[in-house]
Symmetry: C2
Subunit: 342 residues, 2 copies
């Protein structure tokens, strides 16, 4: 026997098709009596409306598009994968499915527009990571609700979910201070990078709140990037100055690892002589000796927040352009365990 349609329900309940539609969509203005009559018919026939038919009639798809650039996706660190999974999970709670796609970094207006946009097959779009400006523009022109995750572009007034870099850095430095450190260095690499700048601000704020004055000898922020060698060089530079800090906050784990490398060469013990904490909580943190303390970004939560936001936009037919900061977690490992705790 074929799958029943709304007509079958209407017939069985002895009402019109439109009335059945009203109760399916939980519109008011249906009397209790006919409502229950219809609900019984629905149960009886085991009826469930087809997504595609309602879609055509209501200009609605039940899908949310998720876009990231191909390079972001194939990274070793599953950063964006986790964001995606967070989105996926949250969307499902609200009865939306996620259509995932990647776009080439070298975006081509003619060829790389995601199919779900051309086919009008999504009700909103979530974009993760640095994404082509032109693409953002196109989506805005389509008047779809949009939110960016872990990226922001001031040219557009879109909503965004961003890492709370200031707060995360603050947590890291605060942790060091509570472990009785007073001479705390900062290795930032490239301060032009917006998130590094924020982390530097968090560092300074933590010091200030604890009445510790900033010692420029402990700070290196003039490099060109934020890689392992950068951390290595920065540590070297600090050591050269003679006045050694007892703890280092590196603005990411890569630099923290470079930094540890240099210290090990000098046979400086971690954390006894110099404690170290990084930022990002990458997998390598527990492969290095001693295990590296770090600040963890709640990636799944970032994705979930994004989903929640676009769902609200869809429901309210009103675009939001709020920037939301996702919380961070302090992860304490051996590299900052104070002696007294060992």
């Amino acid at each position: 026997m074929k799958k029943p349609t709304i007509k079958d329900v209407a017939r069985l309940a002895q009402v019109s098709v439109s009335t059945v539609s009203l109760v399916i969509n939980e519109k008011t203005s249906v009397s209790e009596k006919t409502k229950t009559k219809i609900q019984i018919a629905i149960k009886e026939l085991n009826y469930y409306p087809r997504r595609i038919a309602r879609g055509l009639a209501s200009h609605t798809t039940g899908n949310i598009g998720f876009i990231l650039t191909d390079d972001h996706f194939s990274l070793v660190e599953p950063f964006y994968t986790k964001i995606f999974l967070g989105t996926e999970f949250e969307a499902r709670k609200h009865n939306y499915y996620i259509l995932l796609t990647t776009v080439p970094t070298k975006f081509d207006q003619k060829k790389s527009i995601p199919r779900f946009l051309l086919e009008k097959n999504v009700d909103a779009v979530i974009m993760a990571g640095r994404v082509p400006e032109r693409l953002i523009e196109i989506i805005i022109e389509m008047e779809l609700p949009v939110i960016l995750v872990d990226y922001y572009n001031r040219r557009f007034k879109t909503a965004a979910v961003l890492i709370d870099n200031i707060e995360g850095a603050y947590q890291a430095v605060n942790h060091l201070i509570h472990s009785k450190h007073k001479k705390i260095g900062f290795i930032g690499g490239d301060l032009k990078h917006p998130s590094i700048a924020d982390r530097y601000d968090g560092y300074k704020k933590a010091l200030m709140d604890n009445n510790i004055s900033l010692n420029k000898n402990f700070v290196v922020t003039h490099e060109l990037n934020t890689s392992i060698p950068t951390g290595y060089n920065a540590m070297h530079e600090i050591l050269k100055k003679g006045d050694w800090p007892t703890a280092i906050f590196a603005a990411n784990d890569a630099m923290a690892i470079g930094c540890m490398k240099r210290l090990k060469e000098e046979k400086i013990r971690i954390p006894e002589q110099v404690a170290i904490i990084g930022f990002d909580d990458i997998d390598a943190d527990i492969q290095i000796e001693p295990h590296l303390s770090s600040i963890r970004v709640k990636k799944e939560e970032m994705g979930a927040i994004a989903a929640k936001q676009v769902v609200t936009m869809i429901k309210n037919k009103k675009h939001i352009s709020e920037k939301i900061l996702a919380p961070t977690d302090l992860i304490v490992r051996a590299s900052t365990k104070s002696n007294s705790n060992l």
Copy 2:
């Protein structure tokens, strides 16, 4: 200006709507002349058919459902996540989107049927891991193409993508043999587990092919599970017998790790005195000392194969019920590096 429809194209090209449809769907029996005329009109108007409209008319969705149980999904090891990503990537190549969902392990016929099935919103289904039998049944009744990944149930004659356990084990043991080992142990835990049984077969086959006779003193397969303690106990048992193997193949990495633990207690050096290789290539392999050699399963490829199979089924309107074995990779790390190679 509104998005153009097929009618606009027909009007501009001075043909009927149905003819336009024919060229969109690349049906034959359209003369070259009118075909190009229509194609020009399509370009001109920047027309792209709406997925949802074609869906309603053609009883087709362009979606593939991906189902796994909730417990599988939240595992620490991102095994199924990787399978999913492989599926996703391959499906996109064929112009399908994946709708992901989880079902509760304690499946409830009334409540836990995935929404995309009720809504008739997928053209085929991929299921990963051990999935409720009743659910498989339901999907088969719907006559949707199905494939199972990393699971098989003989009650149904579905297609399946499975790990090539025999070949993987063979690779592992063969590697040990080529490293000049002749006394090779097998730690299997629970032989009732089908994949363990297969790995045991691969072990025996490798020995046989190299004219090494099986020494029962080196084999432990009578435990109840396949965990770290099992590996620990098994190693203990083997050591007690006095006749020590020079290498161990553990049927999974967890047992291999337990095994290493016991050896370390005895101050037996790995790999100098006893080499060890596991199976699964879990993350922990590179957190343990020495790093554990293992057999890697190509998870993304498993997902991709599954996608490819269901797409073929959809295209050919013909169900397949073939079992496909996914290849494995030998990953050599410190735990089996022969001395000569150091």
